[in-house]
Symmetry: C2
Subunit: 244 residues, 2 copies
């Protein structure tokens, strides 16, 4: 089974949702069969790269509320985070996440995508570290298992993995995602939001049951089908390599 | 609703399946809501571009059967084609279809993709015209509504739309398509093979019913949800533009 998770590092519910999903996954009997792929999504592609605006100022300015009201908004999310044992600081900065997503694609190739994603969330939400600062970002990426020179090369070359980020974002749009986090199981079930762990566990159960049912049906069908004569086009389907 | 159809012009069951799907679609009450997207798939990417091997020779060579046995194999497919009122000639040529798929992507941009696909199938299967011949291919494409100069430019530039073809093929692999035709409704239901028209109609009905049910559930949920305070992260989901 394959779970794709569209998320943004600047998204509080993605941070909380990741912890909840992992709890749901841990309670799923067939968790060893689950492959996880993180996919890119930018909530605010126009955000400045420097990331030097405090989140509270951004919220206050964007919604025309007082700083106190912005703090109250953040406070509710902080409670949800605390409920998952996650640190949450409202004095973090708001900035562009495109480079972070590019690094996550490098990390995917290096087999440390989940590690880097967890590290970026922690650095942003629990530690309020300024990820818009290339040296801070590099340090976080290296601690997650990436090579420092490689990270610097990718950060210096804005095109590196840019297309991979955009392809993820196009797919999110094609799949009808209107926000994140957005979880897709086997391209069959879509789940929006940082749902309770039990919702994730049940969705995984249901997807697996359906998969098993379908495999059984396919096997029965295959057993009943007449033996083809190898023209690669038995049963109404033409398979690769046959060409006829 | 959106139906994506992965197919190859060299695939007899794609040709037959297209007619059956269209019959099923015509019997579907909400056919006007259905958007169709043709997607590229090559059964035999290694086939020579020239397309100067008779299909019967290809089949006989590939499966180590006599020409008579190859004719018998083709005869069964021809019967199925005749059942849909489609011409089917076994004296057609076997060749590479990459350029044909590139032209189908051009045709998509020009709004004549379905016309070109129908014309290519007819030229290949009903008329046994050699589509590996650039002049023949251009004539077919122009008759389907494309501009002759534009077609020649695309054929001369092997990179034109090549990435679009490959992206379709990658998606087919990601979606688990093992052969074609492969029909995907709203990225939710997958149907393999040139199934009877009634199977397609029923699948369309089912997908629509589910869509209506989900929309209703979403509306009810939206009506019940408390008015958010505009932090872009209500209900566990963060939506674009909020960034907080």
């Amino acid at each position: 089974m394959r779970v794709e998770i569209w998320a943004d590092i600047a998204c509080p519910w993605c941070y909380i949702g990741k912890a909840r999903f992992e709890k749901g996954l841990a309670a799923f009997a067939h968790r060893d069969e689950v492959e996880i792929v993180h996919r890119s999504f930018e909530l605010d592609p126009q955000a400045p790269a420097a990331g030097d605006t405090p989140v509270l100022d951004m919220l206050a300015g964007k919604y025309g509320v007082s700083r106190e009201q912005a703090e109250a908004m953040e406070g509710r999310v902080a409670e949800a985070a605390a409920g998952e044992g996650l640190g949450y600081r409202s004095d973090r900065m708001h900035g562009n996440t495109f480079d972070l997503h590019r690094l996550l694609h490098l990390a995917k190739e290096r087999g440390v995508q989940d590690e880097l994603l967890g590290a970026l969330y922690r650095a942003n939400f629990a530690e309020a570290r300024p990820l818009g600062d290339a040296e801070v970002l590099t340090a976080v990426a290296v601690a997650a298992g990436l090579d420092a020179d490689e990270v610097r090369r990718v950060l210096a070359d804005g095109d590196a993995y840019a297309e991979a980020v955009r392809a993820d974002e196009r797919e999110a749009a094609e799949l009808g995602a209107r926000g994140v986090p957005f979880f897709v199981i086997d391209r069959r079930y879509g789940i929006s939001g940082g749902q309770p762990a039990e919702v994730f566990r049940q969705a995984l159960e249901q997807a697996r049951e359906e998969q098993v049912r379908e495999e059984r049906a396919r096997e029965e069908q295959a057993a009943e089908a007449p033996v083809g004569e190898g023209d690669g086009c038995g049963d109404g389907v033409c398979v690769p390599g046959a060409g006829g």
